[in-house]
Amino acid sequence: MTKVATDMATFLLKRSTVHFWTTFKDVIRMRRRLADRRARPRFEIVGQMAGTVEATVRVVICDISAEGVLARSSVALAVGSEHRVLVRWDDEDVPATVRVCHVRRDPTTPPGVFLVGFEFVGSSLELRRLVSHCMTSGGSPEPV
């Protein structure tokens, strides 16, 4: 009976040691994984490596008028900058030139979202028609 109890104790000790060792190895493995999860080596650039990024940013229109739009954007565009954009409404794209008038943080959303006011720089017949269509079918406070 005493031997059985001793064996059981040894067994439990062995089990708990194995369990501890397995857990310890997992932690080390996890720490290594967290320290650098990259599969490929990464090189810090010493000095200058200048470049250019070309991207198209999508902004959501909150309000629109014949003069311009107020839009929600995750990029704080430079005030005064002009952009050649596509205005999309119900799968219809209309090209337009806009100038950024003001940028402010959107207090209703997490940091990193901005309310950007754009004014149209000249407006084509196509754009005026689209704006008119947007305004006549609007009126709902439903957010976009």
Binding site: R38, A39, R40, P41, R42, F43, E44, I45, Q48, M49, A50, G51, T52, V53, E54, A55, T56, V57, R58, V59, V60, I61, C62, D63, I64, V69, A71, S73, S74, V75, A76, L77, A78, H83, R84, V85, L86, V87, R88, W89, D90, D93, V98, P111, G112, F118, C134, S137, G138, G139, S140, E142, V144
Partner: protein, 94 residues
């Protein structure tokens, strides 16, 4: 407004590459792009011009100053740009 209205704004931004690997780069920029945005990075490497399509995997915006950094994960690297990048990284690791 009822319905879905949006604008697509093409941007061309000067950036600085802070570090780079075969799979992506950390880029510093005055207007850090949002997570998920896609674009093209053009940079001058010693062996030629590097052009790589990417998507933004993470972004860090500076709260006290303008600008920030974003992680660009490369996608659709063509053979020439892949070779250019490999050569550049091989030289960097020597």
């Amino acid at each position: 407004m009822r319905g879905s209205a949006e604008m697509h704004v093409p941007l061309k931004l000067p950036v600085r590459v802070l570090d780079i690997s075969l799979t992506g780069a950390l880029v510093s920029c005055d207007l850090p792009l949002p997570v998920g945005a896609r674009g093209k990075l053009l940079a001058s490497a010693p062996d030629g011009r590097l052009g790589a399509g990417f998507y933004v995997s993470r972004r860090k915006v500076e709260m006290t100053a303008t600008g920030g950094t974003f992680g660009a994960a490369f996608v659709d690297l063509d053979e020439n740009n892949q070779k250019c990048l490999e050569h550049f990284l091989r030289r960097a690791s020597e």
